[in-house]
Amino acid sequence: MSWVNAILQGVLLGGLYALFACGLSLMFGVMKVINLAHGDLAVVAAYLALGVIAVTHVPAVWSFVLVVPIFAGLGYVLQRTLIQASLNRSVLTTLLVTFGLSVVIENGLQQFLSANSHSLNIGSLVSDSFSIGSQITIAYLDLAILVIAVAVLLGLQYFLSSSKHGRLIRAVADDREAAQLAGADYRHIFGIAAAIAFATVAFAGLAYGMYSQFDPTIGTDQLLLFAFEAVVIGGLGSLWGTLVGGILLGVAQQVGAQINSSDQILVGQLFFLLVLVVIPQGITGQRIISRRIISRRSTGRRNTGRRIGSWRRTA
């Protein structure tokens, strides 16, 4: 029964990881930006919630009403300025710039808000739970986070598949130049995608702040890494893949903890490496890759043209 419990706790933890991973996956899928500041931004969201709570005295769980829109706005502005400017140079530049952003955020937080750890105080909700049988205990908070993660993914899925701007985001992700020829300013569309990604980061940061203690260094030490692992395990560019990846990572970690409480992280990393070796495209990656091959075959000439185009630009 304790193994069943470990797996169940892993599934619940997976919701949190999926919440972290979906914004990372969206930014990579749409603008090919690997945002190395992703974890630190989640920490900033948690600190921002502390500030919102201190000023407005709202209960911690309601802090998202302010934090999420602020982060969406921040995402749009950051994308239109810093990230777009680095994208204009090269995709590799965005790696350096977001890495720099990560360092600046982490040290800025330490400088101005100290290295002390905090948490978002949600009262007794942090420990309230219900039991199934004698071995399995499920915390309401953990369950709520999983439900929120699934709700966020469902919302994202609906937005991307059914709304006008979701359609434009997918079009720009497919072919930026062709989208321009359809009248779409891809920089604005990128901004919208970043706003959504940042909103999910804010949700993730708030959830983490309620779930556990946070300090300025946790963003790169743990959150970014887990988000990356969830994305890679699940398959790049697939929303539901991030949920699958997050859950598998969570289960691996909890099973590790069941073996030996100090092995939690280690087993998670080993599982991640195993996936990389055996199915490098991720659990749900297959379909996307085969689709790319189909589209390449049917527009063979286009790729020739592109190759020439890139050669011309570098010549």
């Binding site: 359609r167 997918r170 130049e177 321009q180 359809a182 891809y186 049917s298 286009r302 630009r313 010549a315």
Partner: protein, 252 residues
């Protein structure tokens, strides 16, 4: 519209570089309302570069582009769509992960007001309605080309730029696409097209403009041009072809 005799689209002394390579040398052209203006030339002649520059994708080194007398040379490509310059790019470039209908809807997202809409495109291409939820990547080359034209039409262009629509398509499909041109003209769209297939163009165009290695070698209405003259201008064989010797070598 330009009833005062002013050309709808004017290109003046356009020069475009791709890095060190000069793709266009001071090319000028003038397209009037209701024309089918055809740019012909061999691989690497600069035809696509010229069209991409007009659409705003390749920034010119010098020269200017005017739409209805207004300078659009420095305008971003998406703003040109709003102004009425819409391009069907070479290789069709549909959004492969979107459905047929979604491709058309993206085309109409920033459309000008005008006669074309998604429904109108479904009427023009009868087969599309039944297959609208199919992914663009699953369509045949000819079908993709039709969707690419539809995606441009729903933006209600004043000038429609067609970049090598016949490329990689069976002759019967090419003929079918060219047979659409009268319908498009009747709806008030002016057409500027680039083509390697000269015989097709001679039947459809009101004006021929031949490029060779980035320079204009010949232009005029098809009725005034001889087959020998076009051949010479196309391949750079004749003495009058701007003095450019040798065959038109291409790297594409």
């Amino acid at each position: 519209m330009s009833d005062d005799g002013q050309p709808l689209l004017q290109v003046r002394d356009l020069t475009v570089h791709h890095g060190q390579l000069q793709a266009l040398h001071e090319v000028s052209l003038s397209v009037s309302d209701g024309e089918v203006y055809a740019i012909i030339g061999a691989n690497g002649a600069g035809k696509s570069t010229l069209l991409r520059a007009i659409a705003g994708l390749d920034p010119p080194t010098s020269g200017s582009i005017l739409l209805d007398g207004a300078d659009v040379t420095r305008m971003r490509p998406e703003r040109r769509v709003a102004a009425g310059i819409v391009m069907v790019p070479e290789g069709r470039r549909l959004f492969p992960s979107l459905t047929l209908e979604e491709n058309l809807l993206v085309g109409s997202a920033y459309a000008r007001t005008g006669p074309w809409n998604v429904k109108g495109v479904y009427e023009l291409f009868g087969w599309m309605r039944d297959r609208r939820s199919q992914r663009a990547s699953q369509l045949s080359g000819g079908e993709q080309q039709a969707v690419a034209i539809g995606r441009a039409l729903v933006a209600n262009p004043r000038v429609l730029l067609l970049d090598e629509v016949s490329l990689g398509l069976a002759p019967v499909v090419v003929r079918r696409i060219y047979s659409l041109l009268p319908d498009l003209l009747a709806s008030g769209v002016t057409i500027l097209l680039v083509e390697q297939d000269v015989s097709q163009v001679l039947r459809a165009a009101t004006h021929i403009h031949c490029l060779l290695e980035g320079r204009t070698t010949l232009e005029g209405p098809p009725g005034e041009l001889t087959a020998e003259g076009i051949e010479g201008a196309y391949f750079g064989l004749a003495a009058g072809a701007d003095g450019v010797p040798g065959p038109a070598g291409g790297h594409a």
